[in-house]
Symmetry: C2
Subunit: 357 residues, 2 copies
């Protein structure tokens, strides 16, 4: 079995994982079990979960509205009230069944209800499996600003079952793929090459690569749980990616982008900047741009869009004293944190992205 | 100097405390300093604070509306947004200057903003000095239900300056006195006797007793930070006290009670129950009732009030499997946790309180 054993935040993948979940329930003896889903996972993922779940209490189902715009404190308030009405006490357990929105928000609701009750995450999207599954970050957005409110607390355990991926729309899978590509870029050329060769429309046999991504991320967050230095590398492409995503979440401006789409653009821009400032190899920049543009169609940004995106950078959580600080790369697997980037270079990067053929 | 040194949550009292605060600021080098007050502490306590504060950044003042009804997630949302607009980054510091509502809510806002920024508590009420100053509990109410949302996280340090007490209305001091009496009841007859002899209308030379209360609470929370057993004793009188307070917070039913007033009634009721179930000495029950009734006028409860209060007990955070669990006393300083109490006995306790002369 694929497993990472820890005091908190153990991860178990596929075969044997459900058995361990049921053993854990028997050991914990929660007074009630709640399962948080969104409208989609309620329909497509809950049946598989219920097939596998064995415990004396039938789980009580909580449903939240799906998608990033609902990852906010109002949804939390509804859930806290529902838990309260349903008699949840400190010895209850919440199981979060869904993508990153459900596991991030559900983890925060559990970590703050009655000053913290236990929770288990079962990521059902590729993105949540390779990204949100380890590291203990949870929380919600503040308006369009991503993940501004939250805490760092690990679930007791994480169950990854790749069968859930069969229920996932294709473009959602691509969002996860982008994070796996990022793991390659910050970690090693070897893993980059494996992921980039993954047949984009054919995700068979992806299980081993998912696990490799989980291990890469786990090694990073174990060394630097509080994001003092090394963990910042996981933000590669996300400084710009989050600003782009926030901008597109604002109503009536642009088509909303998936998280992965926004980060994909962020990775291209940041790699261009790395090439300019740290001599990241030009041939690899071209390869990376090519691979990512194959996955997602290009998005158009005009001068006004870019101005607004740059002004959103000031909310990035890595900033210090009003300075926006980027993670850049000298080469694949060779990072430099806390880099200042002049705004002109960001405009140049957008120009590169737009004109790339 | 009176001081408890810890990795987090160090407490410093009176002389020398401000010097240590300023040294700490110099060491931490926060990028910005925010000071959270309510309308009252803004007027009565901020001037003294500003006299003592020395750091390169002038603090930016945040004001929240005062009182328990504003200790909710909406006030947090306003503050998170204000912090965001004012450019707060992860390396900012929040100083909470006020009573328990300000330190509880401010501690929660800080612990969850960008997944946690540092904070310092400066309690200005007697209640906050002896109760909220140690233990790291923070959070907000959910509707009328007390402290349902929160986390346990210690501030970097706590500054107790008893000069602030001169700005405090008399009945607010009594709320603090009740917690000190409780520390006597759960800890030792010796401390109980010292506090009970405190001249109720003359709080001179209270500093040593405040410090003794801080030490008692600190010893308890250090042994059991997560409230698995011993820390539950600090809830003595609070199980019923919180239900009474919640009930009175509901509009148009009764006059709102101060936290201390509600807990005072809770202590009398719980001591009556202790006498009935665990043979707590009758003469001491009488003495305790006498002392507490001297401090606060009696409140009238009819059958309907008591029914509603009992039904609110189900939200108590110490409950397990729907059972309401009380801390009771066999004698002063001799507790028993996790006791079930039949409802009839609670009605009898209210009757005892109402009829006491």
């Amino acid at each position: 079995m694929k497993a990472i054993y820890k005091n908190r935040g153990s991860v178990f993948c596929n075969e044997g994982a459900w058995k361990i979940l049921n053993e854990q329930l028997k050991k914990l003896q929660p007074t009630k079990v709640f399962i948080l889903t969104d409208n989609n996972t309620h329909q497509y993922c809950l049946p598989l979960f219920l097939e596998k779940y064995v415990y004396r209490h039938t789980p009580e189902v909580l449903i939240m509205p799906e998608g990033e715009p609902n990852k906010n404190i109002h949804t939390c308030l509804d859930l806290w009230e529902e838990l309260s009405i349903k008699g949840a006490d400190r010895n209850c357990l919440i199981i979060n069944l869904g993508g990153g929105v459900v596991t991030d928000l559900g983890g925060f609701v559990a970590s703050t209800f009655k000053r913290g009750i236990e929770f288990i995450n079962i990521p059902t999207s590729l993105l949540a499996m390779v990204d949100a599954s380890v590291g203990g970050k949870n929380g919600v957005d503040l308006g369009v600003l991503k993940n501004q409110i939250g805490v760092i607390k690990n679930p007791i355990m994480v169950i990854i079952d790749t069968h859930f991926l069969t229920t996932l729309p294709e473009e959602q899978k691509f969002s996860g793929l982008v994070e796996m590509l990022k793991h390659g870029l910050i970690h090693s050329e070897k893993y980059w090459n494996k992921v980039k060769d993954l047949e984009v429309r054919n995700f068979d046999k992806i299980e081993d690569l998912i696990w490799e991504s989980v291990i890469i991320k786990n090694n990073i967050v174990t060394k630097d749980p509080l994001e003092v230095n090394l963990r910042k590398t996981l933000n590669y492409g996300h400084t710009l990616g989050h600003a782009i995503e926030s901008y597109c979440l604002q109503e009536n401006i642009m088509e909303p982008l998936l998280h992965g789409q926004a980060v994909a653009i962020g990775i291209i821009l940041t790699t261009f900047i790395s090439n300019d400032l740290l001599n990241f190899p030009s041939n690899k920049l071209k390869e990376i741009t090519n691979i990512i543009i194959q996955i997602f169609n290009k998005t158009d940004f005009n001068k006004e869009d870019i101005d607004a995106i740059i002004s959103l950078l000031k909310y990035d959580k890595k900033n210090r004293e009003g300075k926006v600080l980027f993670v850049l790369l000298k080469d694949i697997g060779d990072h430099k944190i806390d880099c200042e980037v002049p705004n002109e270079l960001i405009y140049k990067a957008f120009k590169y992205y737009e004109e790339f053929q």
